[in-house]
Amino acid sequence: MEEQILSIEHISKSFGEVHALKDVSLQVRKGEFLTLLGPSGCGKTTTLRIIAGLETPDEGKVFLQGQDVTNWEPNKRNVNTVFQNYALFPHMNVAANIGYGLKLRKVPKGEISRRVEEMLQLVQLPGYDKRMPSQLSGGQRQRVAIARSLINNPAVLLLDEPLGALDLQLRRQMQGELKRLQKQLEITFIYITHDQEEALNMSDRIGVMNAGHIEQLDAPEEIYERPKTRFAAEFIGQSNIFSAVVRRACGDGTLVLDFAGGTILAKGEGTPGEQVTLSVRTERVRFGQSPAQGFDLQGTVQEHNYTGGLLRTTLLLPDGQTLTVSGMGGGTDRAQVGDQVQIHWNPACSVIVERGEIHAPERACETVQG
């Protein structure tokens, strides 16, 4: 187990009637890039503000480097924040903004200007020290804000949607740069975003947040391939989410389920007759002329949506539900609308994200080839 640098335990916070956070716990490892991902209003910014000390939790504790800092003033904590709107001081030039933290610590002037120069090099803005924030572009302001926080050598750097205001191309570039900085300086990053691509691309671990709690905390691949909740499956990537009934469990962790008048397989635990909600990524669904992998599910090609890189196909199932399939665009051998196809996927790609009530097994002890 790697060293823990920050730990928040059973944090709750309400603003009037609104419960922003409900019993949130989170352990952050030293040097990791942890992203809190969620829609606006899910409590991710509140979590960050509690770590920074800008908000006091109603319940729970915050530990930083083993110390209980729950009631510490923000200026006493060895964490720094890159604010969403950058919050650069408009009455100070770039050098004064970046050197602000050192000046507060009464670092000698020569030392400050040397460190500021270093920071400007690091964020690739050499020679910008005399500019005022109003003379900078969005991306440059962003870099200054990052430099201003990094100069204090924080134990943890908190970033609140730092790329939210930038256009797509600049955002991609800054993603790479942030990642590079994080690796180079070996500083722990806690990063907030509502952009799933950003989260998947940059993070060591992602905490998916919804309605004031963390739904799932895992590595990006785990989050994407094996979402644990319906919300996580829906919020990240494109998924088919449907309910099916467990027919029986094979010994090897594979379940046989009834779905839309056919038979499908999934990985997981279940008891016969149990109703479960499954999630299957649209790009994992395959279809062809003959059944495969123990599946027996028929569908009709309803429509194609060409989106450039991807071709999105809607399949109509016998009971009127639809499945969405994404495949490579540009191919010429696409199935014709109206074609009957057999649908299947790798059983490991369908995961149970929700469990419903148990129904009496309709067809007990029926055998299916796996």
Binding site: E73, N75, L88, H91, Y100, G101
Partner: protein
Amino acid sequence: MRQSVRAKRSKGKNGFSPAVLPLILWTAVFVAIPLIYILGLSFLKRASTWGVELSFTLESYQQILDPQYLKVYGESLKMAFLTTLGTLALGYPFAYFTAKLKPKNRSVVLLMVMVPFWTNSLVRIYGWMILLRTQGVVNGLLIALGIIDTPLKLLYNFGAVLVGMIYALLPFMILAVYNSVEKLDWSLVEASRDLGASRWKAFWTVTVPMTLPGIMAGCVLVFVPSIGLFFISDLLGGGKTILLGNLIRNELLTARNWPMGAALSMVMMVMSLLILWLYRRVTGAKDMEGLV
């Protein structure tokens, strides 16, 4: 005064729009012509009986540097300076904490600040006389509490006038500062705290510089009228504290020396313009947006 600045601004722009004509007319009739009239008056000779003689003279301007007058200017500037300082010391915290209240409470507090404007200022100053006089409320209270034996002389001195001035002009400071604090981006203060500043340090390095326009606007709004206000020093100063405003009134109404009164008015005008110039220097404002 403020209007003339405005007019200068609109005239200074390139391209003349007919839409500004009413504004120019208005300014000419109510600001420019009276000012020119006063300026002209100050160069005329005092008539032996009443009014002025139509002959050019610098007599009045030779008199304005009389040591007795200089003392009055000094006293006026001191009063204006202390009034500004007093309103700032009281008004800034008041405005700051008002701006931090919930919106509902905020409007109640601001209403309370405005209410005195709706009553006659003379009546309000008489109220201070009742409080401060020898048999007044303050002395009564202090004697009742056994803090003093004989009544203090609170009225008819420099301090009483200063209190009255601060009282009368405080709302201007509060409203000007409030405007600035209300617009303050609090995330800047949070950023400063986050970077290691104590509350106090964050206040001085971020809040104060960011609200400087409001502070300066408030100072101008208080300083300029406090040079001219005369009824407060009349009532609370008992005629002993002579300020520039009193002097002008005396020359115009009592001594009937119109040219002298006009010349002293020009002195006051110059003082006010100096303050406006200082305001622009400090805030770097291109116009008087913070003031109007």
